[in-house]
């Protein structure tokens, strides 16, 4: 008895209005004669109804009031203040969430956050011959003696400033393009703007924006958006730290960095979402190479295989999926990666390999998707 229908995928597309009128009519005709799709449609409706009946727990009122007080107090101070130290994951995740939102949404706000310092006069930067090499999407003027360099990985451009001052003009970034300026103690994300950044003895001492806006994240601090006319300077204690090395400075680790690759990963996912599969695969490979301890490596490793298969490089995709499973045997994506390997093996009529890849999901009760993959291989 037939237990699967290839067209059942179209149920959601029909419900969400993603099918063209002609396709919708054709699928509705199919639906009238297909017991499997009719059953799946009925179950989807039943599941939706049952989901609505799952009782919602009420949040403790006092808890919500406590959080509210903390959040508003922190906002009034202009600095996030936490009841307990925010875990590194929370900082990284929020940065990723912001990056994703920035990357996908319409950039419509030109407002200034209240945490900005008053506008300061721009620093004097001597024009120099340090115009940056292609393919930088802008231009750089450096102060005399400034130490800086530029790199590009895929669509991600980075200028690293070790010491001195730079005036940077970056053209508006297209979707998927990212431009970062790394300072010894923070990172600036640029989205088409002209601005200046100064560092001194391992500390950022000033960021000033002439046009557009930048996002500035100092290591261990929260992100600050700087718009045209805004400038940022460290608070007094930070200035003291900047000019007075601690007694045990020679024991301190070299320059710390807040960049765990989250932005790079987010940019790669945006490419994938935009259907730029080859570029996404490249960007994900670059992320995996550049961030050996990145938090998103497991997902990136799997999504690289997805990007490759969608780009039409199925053999490379299968290799990538095998690498993923070797690196993350308990991966959340292990079934999907195994199915990908099996499907590529099926294309090569290698049903034994497909079966081996899916073995963990074929023991009773077998997984329906794994079964369907093998069944079509046998056919």
């Amino acid at each position: 008895m037939k237990t699967d229908c290839e067209r059942s995928w179209e149920l959601d597309a029909l419900r969400e209005g993603r099918l063209a009128e002609k396709d919708a009519d054709a699928f509705e005709r199919h639906l009238r004669g297909c017991a499997i799709c009719t059953h799946e449609k009925a179950f989807a409706e039943k599941a939706r109804e049952l989901a609505k009946l799952v009782p919602a727990k009420h949040p403790p009122e006092l808890q919500l009031r406590r959080i509210r007080a903390r959040v508003l107090r922190a906002a009034e101070l202009g600095v996030p203040a936490t009841r307990r130290e925010m875990a590194p994951w929370a900082i990284a995740i929020a940065a990723v969430a912001a990056a994703v939102a920035l990357g996908i949404s319409v950039r419509r706000s030109s407002s200034k956050p209240a945490t900005m310092a008053a506008s300061a006069s721009p620093a004097s930067i001597e024009p120099s011959s340090a115009t940056i090499a292609e393919p930088l999407t802008g231009s750089v003027q450096a102060s005399g003696g400034a130490k800086w360099r530029q790199t590009r990985i895929g669509n991600i451009e980075r200028v690293t400033l070790e010491d001195g001052a730079l005036r940077i003009h970056v053209r508006h970034q297209s979707l998927g393009e990212r431009f970062f300026v790394d300072t010894p103690d923070g990172v600036i994300e640029v989205r088409g703007t002209t601005f200046e950044v100064e560092t001194f003895e391992g500390h950022t001492t000033r960021v000033a924006v002439d046009e557009g806006f930048v996002s500035w994240r100092m290591t261990g601090a929260s992100e600050v958006l700087l718009h045209a006319g805004d400038s940022w300077k460290p608070h007094v204690p930070a200035l003291v730290r900047a000019t007075t090395p601690p007694p045990n400075a020679h024991l301190a680790p070299a320059t710390a960095t807040a960049d765990d690759g989250s932005e790079t990963y987010a940019a790669a996912v945006i490419l994938l979402n935009d259907g730029e599969f080859s570029r996404a695969a490249d960007a994900l490979a670059e992320y995996l190479a550049a961030y050996p301890n990145g938090r998103d490596r497991e997902d990136a490793s799997y999504l690289r295989a997805v990007a490759l298969v969608r780009a039409g490089h199925s053999d490379e995709a299968a290799d990538a999926a095998e690498e993923h499973l070797a690196a993350y045997p308990q991966s959340f994506h292990r079934k999907e990666a195994s199915i990908l390997i099996a499907r590529v093996a099926r294309q090569h009529k290698d049903c034994d390999k497909a079966r081996r890849a899916l073995a963990p999901w074929l023991t009773p009760p077998a997984d329906p998707e794994a079964e369907a993959t093998i069944r079509s291989c046998a056919n």
């Binding site: 799946e40 799952v54 009782p55 727990k57 509210r68 903390r70 929370a90 949404s105 407002s111 958006l225």
Partner: protein
């Protein structure tokens, strides 16, 4: 459950979500309070469902609203901010869970508490109660990646694009997972029904 909220604050006209977020981006603390009052419960409930009552929904709500002044400028201007906020909460909760390894413990706790969590009206039919219980148990038995997608789409009312943005997944992957989540739920619920019939 998923509709737009329009809870007007006492003593003043209600500002639209996009106005509030624009004001928050400008550093307006009262706007942050207003948006918090409007959506904190929704964010808490979404986090609680995703974390299955592991007690960290408080941290998620705290993180989401603490970060709002910094990310509000990136809001895309749609009239209802709920999916955006729930998406950020899902991202935070998902990463938190994966980061500290409590994921499987959480699933177990969800499965064991599912029956006690149901609080139906007494007059509701026994069969409906049983259906919901069975549904909850089956939902708890889904793989984590499918379960979160099902919760976000079918319970929280996010679109597959919104879930994709929240979990950093392609929207098509979200749809695939949702499709398989339903199939597995169907299978699990059918198995339990048959088991029940045999027991009878």
């Amino acid at each position: 459950m998923n509709g737009k909220r329009s809870r007007a604050p006492r003593g003043g006209p209600s500002r639209a979500d996009e106005e509030l977020l624009a004001a928050i981006a400008r550093g307006d603390v009262s706007a942050l309070g207003e948006l918090y009052d409007r959506y904190a419960q929704d964010v808490w409930r979404a986090a609680h469902r995703i974390l299955a009552g592991s007690g960290d929904a408080e941290d998620v709500v705290h993180t989401v609203f603490m970060k709002l002044p910094e990310i509000a400028a990136s809001y895309d201007g749609r009239s209802n901010a709920r999916p955006w906020l729930v998406g950020i909460a899902a991202h935070v909760a998902w990463r938190q869970r994966r980061g500290n390894g409590r994921f499987f413990r959480m699933l177990e706790s969800f499965a064991s508490t599912a029956s006690s969590a149901v609080d139906l009206n007494p007059e509701r039919e026994a069969s409906a109660r049983e259906d919901v219980l069975q549904f909850e148990r089956s939902l708890a038995a889904l793989s984590p990646s499918k379960r979160i997608v099902f919760i976000l789409v079918e319970i929280e009312g996010l679109t597959s694009e919104e879930v994709g943005r929240a979990l950093l997944l392609p929207a098509a992957t979200v749809r695939t997972r949702l499709h398989h989540a339903r199939r597995e739920l169907d299978k699990l619920m059918s198995m339990k029904e048959h088991r029940g019939e045999n027991e009878d």
